[in-house]
């Protein structure tokens, strides 16, 4: 029946098909295949710095008043583009990720250095717990005395939008106009040196 339908759609008798008639469906097939690969392959879907915008999805969860003020937002839910600072350092983590746990004190130290520098005028930090509940995010933040806001992505919404990234995943974002969050630099996995990674982020942002 499908054959019949497409034969009719093509407007010609099956016996009169020529090589040219194959070009259209073959082309469509190749295009569809390319689309499929692009959409399903995690690496292909992964957000790439300099050429992709960060998915500006709504973030939900509980934040203390202090953390709300630190971000400069009115409350939750909010979108990352609602954060008024020009740059945002984002850490995608999981409470269950041993590498995130190992990095946590260093990320805190990085935050404190930024807070004590002129960069604080332009930059804020945000942690997003992928696949973590509010309890798990709070537990992690409590264990490591995290001094910046952390929110859950319990249903893996952002995680999927970013291409099913592994943890930890560090990004520096830059606001390029309303709702435009450019990925300046992104690093998947625990780097050999967080300090070095951050310097590279600043270099790419033209901040140092």
């Amino acid at each position: 029946m499908t054959t019949l339908f497409f034969s009719r759609w093509a407007g010609r008798s099956p016996r009169r098909t020529t090589p040219a008639a194959l070009l259209l469906p073959l082309g469509a097939l190749l295009l569809a295949g390319a689309l499929l690969l692009g959409m399903l392959h995690p690496d292909a879907a992964r957000a790439q710095e300099g050429e992709a915008l960060f998915p500006d999805l709504p973030l939900q969860g509980k934040l203390s008043q202090e953390m709300i003020q630190q971000l400069g937002i009115s409350g939750t839910p909010f979108r990352i583009s609602d954060v008024p600072s020009e740059y945002l350092f984002v850490e995608i983590f999981s409470m269950y990720c041993p590498y995130c746990q190992r990095d946590a004190p260093e990320v805190n130290a990085l935050f404190e250095r930024v807070r004590g520098s002129e960069l604080w005028e332009q930059m804020r930090f945000l942690g997003i717990g992928t696949g973590n509940t509010q309890y798990e995010v709070d537990f992690y933040a409590q264990q490591f005395k995290t001094p910046f806001p952390m929110l859950p992505d319990e249903e893996y919404v952002l995680h999927s939008a970013l291409g099913n990234i592994g943890t930890p995943y560090y990004l520096l974002l830059r606001r390029n106009g309303p709702d435009q969050l450019e990925i300046v630099h992104a690093v998947e996995g625990s780097p050999d040196s967080l300090e070095e990674m951050f310097r590279e982020m600043l270099r790419k942002a033209g901040l140092r």
Binding site: T2, T3, F5, F6, S7, A10, P14, R15, R16, T17, T18, P19, A21, L22, L24, P25, L26, A28, L29, L31, A32, G33, L35, L36, M39, L40, P42, S94, M95, Y96, C97, P98, Y99, C100, Q101, R102, T130, G131, T133, Q134, Y135, E136, F139, Y140, Q143, E155, Y156, H159, S160, N164, G166, T167, P168, Y169, E188, G189, S190
Partner: protein, 210 residues
């Protein structure tokens, strides 16, 4: 002009149908879309599995079957060693070097102090052998609670509790046992998902408050 055999238009139509179907397939979520995983080369992703594949033999209110297994240091650990001393949380995980399992015990490791504050010890059980468990836990930067190998006779303890799957792995299961050796909480979780620490802690706190 050259005429093509009758099969060509059918091929042509089939290609068209496939071309239409492929983008539709792309709309389906990828299998791993809902599993976070630490970036670690060498993890094996078995893909989605049937959520449960065993028949539970131990229920809330039952006496927990005693067992003796060897930990990674070669020490024999008996469940009855904790009788009258501590509540025990048994955590069965299906297999070493897989994404969800690799993202479960490190969280309990982080929460060990909280478990201890509520008079509870965690025992991790896996049907993997000791060398495998040693390498795996080292890759996770070490696990500070006893990790017990239920490798031989294969999955005997998992089977005793009714959480041995037909493929030889265990379920992702939790049993909370009180100081009298009575089972107070059971969660045979969907093997593809990680149990929420908040719910486990609520049960642990409830038990320690008795």
């Amino acid at each position: 002009m050259m005429r093509f055999p009758w099969i060509l238009p059918r091929t042509c139509s089939a290609l068209f149908a496939l071309a239409l179907l492929l983008p539709a397939l792309a709309l389906l979520p990828p299998a791993e879309a809902r599993a976070d995983h630490p970036v670690r080369p060498g993890l094996f992703d078995p893909g989605p599995l049937s959520s449960q594949d065993s028949t539970l033999k131990v229920h809330v209110g039952d006496a927990a079957p005693d067992f003796a297994l060897v930990d990674l240091a070669g020490k024999t650990v008996r469940l009855s060693d904790y009788r009258g001393q501590r509540n025990v949380l048994l955590s069965f995980v299906p297999a070493a070097w897989t994404p969800v399992c690799s993202g479960q015990w490190p969280g309990y490791n982080l929460a060990l102090k909280t478990f201890e504050e509520h008079d509870t010890i965690v025992l991790g059980l896996s049907v993997d052998n000791r060398p495998t468990l040693f390498a795996w836990t080292e890759a996770m930067h070490g696990i500070d609670f006893p990790v017990l190998s239920d490798f031989w006779p294969h999955g005997r303890v998992a089977d005793l509790y009714g959480v041995l799957r037909s493929d030889g792995m265990s379920e992702r299961a939790l049993f909370l046992i009180d100081k009298q050796g009575v089972v107070r909480f059971v969660d045979v979780h969907d093997i593809n998902k990680r149990p929420d620490l908040g719910k486990i802690m609520a049960e642990v706190k409830k038990l320690s408050a008795r």
